[in-house]
Amino acid sequence: MSAATHCNKDIPIFSVSDLTMRIAGDASDIVERLSFDVFPGKTLCIVGESGCGKSITALGLMGLLPPQEVAVRSGTIRFEGKEYLAAEAHQARHLRGDRLAMIFQEPMTSLNPSYKIGVQIAEAVTCHHSGSYVDAKKQALAMLAKVGIPGPELRYDEYPHQLSGGMRQRVMIAMALINNPAVLIADEPTTALDVTIQAQIIELICELQKNTQMGTIMITHDLGVVAKLATDVAVMYGGQIVESGPVASIFNAPQHPYTIGLLSSMPNLSGYKERLFTIPGTVPNVQSMPKGCRFSSRCPFCSSVCKTQPEVRVVDDAHSVACHFAPLDQTLELSA
């Protein structure tokens, strides 16, 4: 994928190429040959059904997967001009929490119950920058105010159990952004929250991103979030990126049958308003992934060619698809 033509800054700040990972003991790869770029000031949304490998990808990029549990078989990461093997991501400690930050899916359990939240935020500063704790505390207080926590002075000394889920996610965001990272990976930051709080958190992330050059990878399966935040979209299915491109192109001219199905399941964005379309079946697990196109077991257009792996085709300048039938002559109409 290359969103280059759609950005002012056309050098990606974070590039992943050919990332392949396997869970120890499995016979096939959980994530296969992922490649994508993140540009400064832009948001790449990674979408896909539950279990398709989004979190494992995010954790792999952060270097947070225990090597004895998940093996990184191939892949390189280029970050801020430096290139390193994805398999060595866990050694990039100096980047984590400083240049490359992450917010997690589970705000309720992601904060240490034994330490004051303020101390946990300030720790992110002191562990990367020399400087006094007093200084770090000042920064943490400012950050708490910035993420919309009322009465930061009081909240600073509170423990996680004294905060609601939404508040905790705000604290996690404060912790992630306090060192002005170049790239933020947000793994479904709102899934665990109430609907009203979800909107607030997305709004907050949107606000905080404005006027910064931070590139964001937003993992979600909420197409509403994609519509609000994304500049680019990568659609994942069964551990692969099946389609990627600028958000307008993906929404207006989806090419992969899986993307089309996904968009159809969203009544207001897809244009197919009459009925809610859902893709029959679920993502097969790694062991029973079909040979050839991984979507073939659920694809309504599956035919004999689909027994071979479709190569990635560029259909529009920044829009690429992995399907034998791409590019489509016209927009496919699915009749469920």
């Binding site: 947070l64 992450m102 990367h128």
Partner: protein, 315 residues
């Protein structure tokens, strides 16, 4: 917090009463006449009767109990039938000895058990983990008396490095006192170290899987900080509780070790008292032990609350 402690103390009262009744009754049910034991060769019925009257052994048992517990509450645990000393004095004389032994044993256990537990959790499934577990298992399965005797034979008899016995109070000659106590403390401590190691390991394994440890790593903290500050701080809560409980057990478990190393402690006091049917001493010792146990339980509970911010706010 004070409220919580007081509430716990009130709850402990019925327990102590029950234990005291139990001890008292059991003692009465045991065969053997204390007066005979006391009188030695003397079999003159008049003398025996005099002794019975003196120690009020002719009163109905419930009255005897009430007498005893009433005095105990005032700090009077009776007079030893054998030595004619107040039981409380005997206990206060012996307790510090056993206390010193227990503290030293606990320090040894903590110094071995906790680092070994952390290490084997962090290195789970590796050679280090297997070694630590194998050593722990042998620590648990080697009987104390055997280890004690072996140590005496090797270190004291063969190499003559440490004295096998000859207790000295820590207030008289601290260095000598420690050198005498170190072997028995080691014997007592090893079994505990194994228990502590296994609990530390499983608590650490739980915590290392948690999301907040992942957050700590995502923050870019050094692995040492992640493990010792973020993980161990949370794993420590059950360990502190366990330590308090184990300490109570240590005092009780010291009996055998004190026999082997001829340490004039609590254990020796109770063994001698039982053999001599010295009722007052046995009852006193058991009562003090039970109260000590309950206190350790209370300390364990308080520590648990203090270490847990959520409970701390509630208490």
């Amino acid at each position: 917090m004070l409220n919580f402690v007081l509430r716990r103390l009130v709850i402990a009262i019925p327990t102590i009463i029950l234990i005291s009744i139990f001890v008292f009754t059991l003692q009465k049910l045991l065969p053997g006449d204390p007066v005979l034991a006391m009188a030695g060769e003397e079999r003159d019925p008049q003398v025996l009767e005099y002794l019975r009257e003196k120690y009020r052994l002719n009163d109905p048992i419930p009255i005897q109990y009430l007498n005893w517990i009433g005095n105990a509450l005032r700090g009077d645990l009776g007079i030893s039938l054998r030595t004619n000393q107040p039981v409380l004095d005997l206990i206060l004389e012996k307790l510090p000895v056993t206390f010193q032994l227990a503290v030293m044993a606990m320090i040894i256990a903590l110094l071995i058990g906790i680092p070994a537990g952390i290490l084997s959790a962090v290195k789970k499934g590796t050679f280090i983990d297997y070694c630590a577990n194998a050593i722990a298992l042998s620590g648990l399965s080697i009987p104390n008396f055997w280890l004690g005797i072996m140590l005496i034979l090797l270190i004291s008899v063969k190499w003559q490095l440490l004295p096998a016995s000859g207790f000295v109070s820590i207030f008289e000659d601290p260095l000598r006192s420690m050198s005498v106590m170190i072997m028995p403390a080691f014997v007592l401590g090893t079994a505990l170290a194994a228990t502590l190691m296994r609990h530390t390991r499983s608590a650490m394994l739980d915590v290392l899987k948690s999301d907040y440890v992942r957050t700590a790593r995502a923050k870019g903290l050094q692995e040492r900080t992640v493990i010792l500050k973020h993980a161990f701080r949370n794993a420590a809560t059950p360990i502190v509780t366990l330590t308090a409980l184990l300490f109570g057990e240590l005092i009780a478990g010291a009996v055998l070790t004190e026999q082997i190393f001829t340490i004039p402690g609590f254990g020796k006091l109770i063994v001698d008292a039982v053999f001599n049917r010295d009722y007052a001493v046995v009852q006193g010792v058991v009562l003090v032990t039970a109260v000590g146990f309950i206190l350790m339980n209370l300390i364990a509970d308080v520590a648990y609350v203090l270490l847990n911010p959520k409970l701390r706010n509630l208490a």
